[in-house]
Subunit: 428 residues, 2 copies
């Protein structure tokens, strides 16, 4: 009797990997996690489902449309769409029991019902670090979170990436100095610069603030060079606006501490066109691009904000954070071929193959290899050598040890490398 | 201007931990994961949201009522309520690309809208291992999955637990031998034995099959002693039913291989009252109880099934699996005081405290300590020594290193242990 078979499939826009790639994904997660933990970040884990009224307290418009929300019993609930809002709720809720500055990391899945597009996922991992102060927070932390991203990328083995760093206070100060009233329109335009291109940007900007001021803004945002040079050239504008001066000072501090923390100067640059939307960030902002593959967009972004949890508490909680969009990064790393040669640390060192009635000894050998910190297991089925070798190959075992009755008698074991075919005797 | 503050809170029935306990939770997860990986299990990660028609293909009744389901656009979707159904879907969907036996593990959150009760969670972690064969699967694997649970518990540092193992074929064979027609009623009754108690069980059983047969069943299910003794006493019944004989043979094999794998004989026992529902399991079944705290229920269960994915494929996929209910286990470990003395491996070894303008050198010291594999970070705020020491204490730093201008000049560093107060000079 056959059942009615339901075609096994998942929803569109969800990433699901085969074991071979899952191993690589998990290896990357554990490397990022290790970097966060080695640097003293504290993990939190919040529910994926939250109360709608709490989760959506701040949002609206586009975000809210993308949220997965539903009811069960009398409760309206929704799936988290980022890790920041739940973190704000967490910090406000557990405020009295936390130590500030609170350096938390969280690696988890978030949900957005975005339009279905290649490389865009509706369930994706974010790997966030934020540092939150009570009333104040040193600018040192701004450099520190970028440095964590740098260490994470290094740990993964990435070499071609660049942090593009700015400070929102600089442009804000300039717009105020120039007495430009349509500040938000200008910022929005600069935010879109890369999307709309230089020509269109110039036309639009001139329409908003006139050609004279547009030229000044253009001169400023197109400054290029080393961080030191850029900061020097910005200072030469001699604007007296305090926000501007503070912005430059902060940016200078961030780049200095970055170097001090060990971030190579070819891994970051100042780019005043980095804005990151209008709502949230107030000082340092940064994005990260894979060099030569900038068109995939930023793979790690973040910045400084004045108050994490204003919807949930009257405490003033300034913070700075960064987020690696791991599912998207993994997609890009796959596209650009980086994963092809990526070697995960968690592969099977030894597969032990029993021939005849040798199971007990096979298990003994497995236990011994594991004591020596090898990943090892036994092929438990009764089978032919040929079938077992095909299996060993398919699961990408590094080595096999064939154990027949002779091996049990002589306690002399041969290990065969599955790539080179080389055979070596091993001692237990 | 004050905002309208929304009280930060989460839904009832969700576990959320403070950093101190989260550290312990994560440490337990990483130990379980390490055991699974050292033994060659392959990780998979499936979406938390699945298509309703796929996820709910098999279920019905109680389970279906507990499922979180909703619609977005034209899609009906639901949150996974265990890791087994998504695994069955995964195995069927990716069948051609998998190597069998497929040993997969998955650690992830699942969702059930259960009645709100202390110690019952609506979002909880499961840590599953299953081995799936194509058409057949050796009984060795039944012992192997239990052995993995044993290794996981050992890794966590648990010493008081016991696996209660049975094989469904034994009772099935006996009921057939005794020509008892109301097989399901008897099995259901035995399944409820612990819940309803001996007296009530006997009364009910007598009602169903009469006192003579009830006595035989009672004699059989109350056999106690070592595994060898129990198997010997079962064999002495001399039933000729093949299922019965097969069940005993399998159970004997499982206990033998368990010993061979290194599971101590005081950690498992045969208990023929273990049934684990009627739907799914067909051979080996087991539950795990914390000795002296049996009333909390089983913290790890599993067993053998004939066909993993019959709803999704015509391939015959026998398997055996086990699941550690981690959120529940963590709750129980907290209740019984085990967590009070639990030491997580991921604590902060050094917190470096800057006094005066010594930040650059502090960072140098941090980098150096991290190269020596210590978890280290710098306190980045300008603050007083007193405030910094309170912070160090609150985040449970193991040691602090205070760096003032003298330390920068002399490169002579003192580390202070936060528990003992002991001070030692350290070399960089």
């Amino acid at each position: 009797m056959k059942n009615n078979i339901i075609k096994p499939s998942i929803l569109a826009g969800f990433m699901e990997l085969l074991p071979k790639n899952q191993k690589k994904f998990d290896d990357i997660v554990s490397k990022i996690k290790a970097v966060y933990e080695e640097n003293g970040c504290e993990a939190i884990d919040t529910p994926i489902i939250e109360k709608s009224e709490v989760l959506l307290a701040k949002s609206g418009g586009e975000t809210e449309k993308q949220v997965y929300s539903f009811e069960k019993g009398k409760n309206k609930m929704a799936l988290r769409f980022d890790l920041t809002v739940p973190f704000a709720r967490y910090t406000a809720q557990h405020f009295d029991e936390l130590a500030f500055p609170f350096r938390r990391y969280q690696i988890g899945k978030v949900y957005r019902g975005e339009r279905n597009q290649r490389g865009r996922y509706r369930e994706f991992y974010q790997c966030d670090v934020d540092v939150i102060g009570k009333n104040s927070l040193s600018i040192n932390n701004d450099a520190w979170v970028i440095n964590l991203a740098d260490r994470a990328f290094k740990a993964i083995g990435l070499t071609s990436y660049k942090f593009q760093i700015s400070n929102r206070k600089i442009l804000k100060g300039i717009l105020s100095e120039l007495e430009i009233e349509r500040e938000n329109d200008v910022m929005t335009l600069i935010d879109k610069y890369d999307k709309i291109g230089e020509k269109c940007f110039n036309d639009e900007l001139t329409k908003v603030i006139g050609s004279e001021q547009a030229e000044i803004i253009n001169n400023i945002i197109s400054i290029e060079g080393s961080s030191d040079e850029t900061i020097k050239r910005l200072s030469e504008f001699k604007f007296s606006n305090e926000t501007f001066i503070e912005g430059i000072k902060e940016l200078e501090k961030v780049t200095n501490i970055l170097s001090c923390l060990g971030v190579s100067s070819d891994k970051f640059t100042i780019n005043l066109k980095i804005i990151r939307g209008l709502d949230y960030y107030t000082g340092t902002v940064f994005e990260t691009f894979l060099t030569g593959n900038e068109s995939y967009g930023s793979v790690c972004s973040g910045g400084r904000y004045d108050n994490l949890a204003e919807k949930y508490t009257n405490n003033i909680l300034p913070g700075v954070g960064m987020s690696i969009g791991l599912t998207r990064l993994f997609f890009v790393l796959s596209e650009i071929g980086f994963l092809d040669t990526y070697k995960a640390n968690n592969s099977l060192d030894y597969l032990i193959l029993p021939l005849g009635d040798t199971m007990d000894y096979c298990i003994e050998v497995m236990n011994d290899l594991q004591k020596k910190n090898y990943v090892a297991t036994v092929y438990f089925e009764e089978s032919t050598l040929k079938k077992m070798m095909i299996y060993a190959n398919k699961i990408q075992a590094e080595n096999v040890i064939i154990i027949g009755e002779d091996e049990v008698k002589n306690k002399r074991l041969k290990s065969k490398n599955m790539k080179t075919g080389e055979e070596t005797y091993i001692n237990l």
